[in-house]
Symmetry: C2
Subunit: 146 residues, 2 copies
């Protein structure tokens, strides 16, 4: 389904002991490069997330190895970032409810985030209106009326 994952899929015998989610036998394992390509992130970003405690891949020969749970978690991180949440917030919002990881965003927090984004939206729209006026464009982007 995915070139990166099809060609670079690895298998690992066991995870390191004590790891929160050690990849078990025959589970797919990905390198940092795999995930970077898949999610459109840099290696640096993935290492940074790990440093912030958002990811916790096992090590194999000094390299980071990501299992399905790590992939699931990273997908949530990327999704939450698109919602405009900070990494600090994301770290506290991702929880595991037995059947997988989810973004536990309370209704209150959700409304608060909406308010923040609406504020940013207004600022950007005001800036766009001003810039379009400066560029000699009409604010509503309709052709000139007679």
């Amino acid at each position: 389904m995915n070139d990166v994952f099809a060609t670079e899929l690895l298998l690992v015998a066991d995870g390191s002991p004590g790891h929160p989610s050690p990849p078990s036998a025959s589970e797919p394992v990905y390198t940092i490069g795999d995930l970077a390509k898949r999610f459109g992130l840099t290696l640096r970003a993935l290492r940074f997330y790990e440093n912030r405690g958002l990811l916790n891949p096992v090590r194999g020969g000094g390299r980071r190895l990501y299992g399905p749970k790590d992939v699931e978690r990273l997908a949530l991180i990327v999704k939450a970032k698109k919602l405009g949440l900070t990494l600090t917030a994301i770290q506290q919002l991702i929880v595991d409810d037995g059947e997988g990881q989810t973004l536990r965003l309370s209704h209150e927090a959700c409304m608060a985030q909406i308010a923040i984004l609406e504020g940013q939206l207004a600022e950007i729209e005001a800036a766009l209106a001003e810039l379009r006026a400066m560029c000699g464009l009409t604010g509503d982007r309709q052709p000139d009326r007679p």
Copy 2:
């Protein structure tokens, strides 16, 4: 017209030599606190702009003293920031055309900035749509149709 300016207006005899725009006699002079209140900025922000070379107030008794030209320049900085421009860009865009300072934004740069903001707008609108769905709100914020 402005309480801050009316009550804290100072007069200074001469500017320091070599300064690009030394306040001359009987020109109004403002403190950093005056400008912070007037423009809704922090003292730290004003000092930071100075450090970046965006402002260059004279000193009087160790204190920063801002003249009308500094005020004019700061107004431009604040306006440009609202357009989403970086301080580095702003520094290069502010020019003095004999009759005052202006933001020299080329048509090309203007269009480029519009494109950037339109991209941000799209991202924020997508995030808002998602958040409203999560919060159980309708995307277009209209009441439920029968």
